[in-house]
Symmetry: C2
């Protein structure tokens, strides 16, 4: 369909035509069996497979006034790639279940496919969309499943392996996406709370970076396998805010994670509580040279009353964006 | 949460509490790493993995007046298990992204989890839900990804392997789910087209079987590996109607599939056009003994003008339920 008008609604096209439009933008895959059969077949480095699934929903997870199709495709890929990376694994394929209102334009769908591909090419070269599903829905929904492989003979890096004495380190942004979300909520909503288009000209350069960090995060995917090879004892991706996720890691490991506020930059509150950057939080035995991109932000202590402390003091705030808790039903 | 009132809406519970309620009903998994980390890790029979994803959406794919939570969980599992089976593979795990309106009751969610588990236990013993994702949405959405393994050294069975002279065979129901859908559409909708509750007492025994076939299909999952071991040359699951799917198989294989109407029972029109039973359609070299459950329904010819004929005559009707084409926006 080289000449289709991008404004054409998908329900005036056949499912085959919509699929062809998407596949063209995804480019050739690398699977033994790719799209077009009942299922895909992938060859992995060994007989273990890493699988994770995460969904973006119009309303709680994104607003179409803020996110382009390209942003959404890239974000849907990035958040899933980060979960694979956080196991110390290399992402090899994405599977995308796309449910769209019938009036969605084919141009938007093509942009979404391009965003998926761009994020794979940029963050996890070699990983491609190798299958998916198209259906109609009143609510635009992008459900992505990511599949990864481990280095043969190397164990996955779990949340539960941190030991007292370990260094706590992070790779990637913390608080940037939250700063971007605050800008969007404060300045790009109408009086009823619905999202309105972002005016780039009204943003300072650093504000623009923050908004981009929210709409199109770039987690350090390759650093997942690097951390595993460097002997990370525990790892997870920070999706719900550093306090919340570090607390989970501490609890899973049966230790106390102590973060040092002075390592978290000038906006340490936002670094502690903001989510959605998908940085990699990892622990390493003391004395290990941290892999490139990781920086020390604390240390692991014997389990105390709290699984998380900041500068030695219990830290019990919630942090992060929780669609269960925080979504008010507003759209845009 | 042993004592939670089943009517409690999920948005009055924490995400952790909802998850605990689900996991309790799913039972223990068999993964190297199961729910609770960033991703699951599974051990497979060899270094190839089979992956497929399929979504059920409230509106186009189901009506809550007709389907219980248990039915929906079981159907979401079954349709994905069938796609794995159709590759000649054995399903080992499901990953379930569940997006729910905030007012969904915890009882419904628990029933859905039970349905997922029941379908796995019944249709694909050993397969379990090993991970997933919970989020809020205006539209109830169940996106399932199924993961399977192949017998070591055995190739997946593709759609493209049918050769002239092969037998065409099927395993499982054809037309039953469509008969059930017709009953639901004809007799259990209000004047505006919205679904209303099914009155079991108003159904004859055979009608009840048909309605169950629509709401809770039971595809012959184990017959997928059996067909592969018996040398199936091509295979796919019949989700969109026999005419549509047999045509796809013919086209992918570069042959003409000729079906024999007399083999399709008294309601051969519905058998030809009805979808959603998820029977396994396969081809075998002439003279092969068909594996248990498969019955001959036609033969493979040299490619003619049409990839599908019935009793030698071109068959060009559409068939099947297509949410793109057929959903009128009605709910219930």
């Amino acid at each position: 369909m080289p000449d289709v008008d991008p404004a054409t609604p998908v329900n005036s096209l056949s499912e085959e035509a919509v699929l062809a439009h998407i596949l063209q933008r995804l480019g050739p895959g690398q699977a033994l069996v790719g799209p077009g059969d009942d299922a895909a077949v992938l060859r992995l480095a060994d007989a273990r497979v890493v699988v994770t699934t995460d969904t973006l929903i119009h309303g709680p997870d994104f607003r179409l006034a803020w996110s382009s199709g390209r942003d959404l495709g890239a974000k849907a890929a990035a958040v899933n790639l980060a979960d694979v990376a956080a196991m110390g694994a290399r992402p090899v394929a994405l599977f995308v279940a796309l449910a769209m209102p019938p009036e969605t334009s084919i141009g938007f769908v093509g942009e979404l496919a391009s965003g998926l591909r761009e994020a794979c090419d940029e963050l996890a070269p070699g990983c491609r969309v190798e299958g998916g599903d198209l259906t109609s829905s009143d609510t635009l929904t992008i459900a992505v499943t990511a599949v990864g492989e481990l280095d043969p003979g190397r164990a996955p890096v779990l949340r539960s392996g941190a030991r007292p004495g370990d260094i706590v380190a992070i790779c990637g942004d913390v608080g940037l996406a939250a700063a971007g979300l605050d800008i969007l909520f404060d300045r790009f909503r109408d009086e009823r709370g619905a999202a309105i288009a972002v005016d780039d000209a009204a943003l300072s350069p650093s504000e623009r970076v923050a908004v981009r960090g929210q709409l199109r995060p770039r987690p350090p995917i390759g650093s997942g396998t690097a951390a595993a090879r460097a002997g990370a004892t525990a790892m997870m991706d920070v999706s719900d805010g550093l306090v919340r996720d570090a607390r989970r890691l501490g609890r899973a490991s049966g230790v106390t994670v102590d973060l040092e506020r002075s390592t978290l930059g000038p906006d340490s509150d936002r670094a502690l509580r903001g989510g959605e950057d998908h940085a990699l939080l990892a622990t390493f035995a003391a004395g290990k040279v941290l892999p490139a991109g990781f920086r020390r932000i604390g240390s692991v202590k014997q389990a105390g009353l709290d699984p998380l402390t900041v500068d030695g003091r219990p830290e019990r705030s919630a942090g992060g964006w929780d669609p269960y808790r925080d979504w008010d039903g507003a759209g845009g």
